[in-house]
Symmetry: C2
Subunit: 338 residues, 2 copies
Amino acid sequence: MKIGKQTIKLESKPCIFSTSSIVGPKEMQGPLAQYFDMHIKDVFFDEKSFEKAESKMLETCINNLIVKSGISQKDIDVIFSGDLLNQCISSCFAIRDFDVPFLGLYGACSTFCEGLLLSSLLIEGNTANEVVASASSHFCSAERQFRLPLEHGNQKSTTAQATVTASGAALVTNRKIADNGIHITHVTPGKIIDLGVKDISNMGAAMAPAAFSTISNHLTDTGRDINYYDCIFTGDLGMHGSDMLKELFKNEGVDITHRHNDCGVLIYDEKSQDVNCGGSGCGCIASVFSSYIFNELKAKKLNKILLVATGALMSPLSSSQGESIPGIAHAIAIENEV
Amino acid sequence: MKIGKQTIKLESKPCIFSTSSIVGPKEMQGPLAQYFDMHIKDVFFDEKSFEKAESKMLETCINNLIVKSGISQKDIDVIFSGDLLNQCISSCFAIRDFDVPFLGLYGACSTFCEGLLLSSLLIEGNTANEVVASASSHFCSAERQFRLPLEHGNQKSTTAQATVTASGAALVTNRKIADNGIHITHVTPGKIIDLGVKDISNMGAAMAPAAFSTISNHLTDTGRDINYYDCIFTGDLGMHGSDMLKELFKNEGVDITHRHNDCGVLIYDEKSQDVNCGGSGCGCIASVFSSYIFNELKAKKLNKILLVATGALMSPLSSSQGESIPGIAHAIAIENEV
């Protein structure tokens, strides 16, 4: 049921039953290593190209999810997935071997939350029983598609983020789970916000206003205060974009400092890993949610979170044609049953 | 409610309230000219690039839909859209100026039906009241992205299809409309089917098995016969792919010849327009449904149709890495209230 201007309240409280994550070697050297289900030892994952490696990573991630969930492929009604590659080939080839209906998404780095949002709406409408939301990204496939081939060895600007090599997947179900009541209670699909930022090495700045818009509207629509949530996790504003988000809220007289974290900041160690402003890519929030955050929810260390995936909706071509970078953010309220 | 293995029956019968179409000059010379709402006189549409022209076309199409529907932007809960361009920039930039939540899709030429399908599921679940499903493609932007720059003047193979320059949009609503009862009654989201076709100049062959799979499963799930429907409209198998689909059904002892048509075949005149196997692209089924087919439904010349959008889920990169072309097809049963 729609409440307010932009938010949907889910009466049936769809349950996130389980999650699966897989990351690359660099992510495995980061502070969240202990939470990931699996990692690949080298970026090729025994494949002949970065793109094939990314597909295999996503396919493995969904297969692991199925095993962890104790279900079989035939129990899944739909798989939602998307990625950063042109024509979303990472997802299309990953899901090719599943005997399950597929609905492809493109929302740049907001894709995972777009998938979770649509999964929960299908459950809410009693139009599906078990739905998978998934997303992936790969540093090497993204670099050569969006920027320059790795062999070029170009230097990054200080505001740039590093695309995370990772996949994440979650199973959303209408089953009533006694000991695992992690529910999606509200979703707020985002509008495109474009304040004219054109610097493709500063996507945090392009996306922060979209995150601000969606979070603000979510709070207004639900009548909630920022302190209602244990934490608002954005992904992936990086360090610079996170600072901007705090500033935007500060202008409204709201201090989110102790209620906000960013998946792009969490996944790497700023001091020891050379990642400038942090991580980015569809796989970042997908893998951080599907490991660390879901783990904290299960352990009841977190009980109420707002998961806000942000996307920068440009392409190399749109930027070369002088366009600015439109941003988007989708918010998902995830709460433990109390 | 799910019925059978792959189909969802929509108890609330979401209504397609109105549609909007806009096409390019070549499409306006074709046999469906009288049905389109609007056409652009040249492929640049007063913009500086083909990509910007495509975005403007889609934006205009959605604006026209809003006017035709007698609603305002604030009445729309979500816009679904997708296109063929890398990172779906046609949709992202088209929808940037709308103050409406946006959910981006990628399903290649199946995108329009993916949008209609998800729109109807949101209505069914009472999670939205008014939803727009839209898609676009542009011959010139697609040619230079997927194949060669137009300036190259390359010759097409006889099995190739021509990307349609067009946008289409439909408004799906939960309102009960007295004199316009065009309802979505069932949807069948498709699985990825890949029989190993690698010829990117023969995408009809790559997609026909997916269309066959989805249509067959739809009929099994609903317990319907092929003759239940006045017509099954695929889009876009083209002439060669349509022949393959007929052959696949013939092998099962089913003759679909008089119950099948293809939007890629309908949109051009095979004899006078140089399009080889017919039209393709997200905008083809989007514009043909949003003009000719919707018109025939309103006029009660058609009362029961199955709309089946097919997509070829490859990219130039996946093909250059030796991959085959995965196909997908999503089916939507659209029926007049009797």
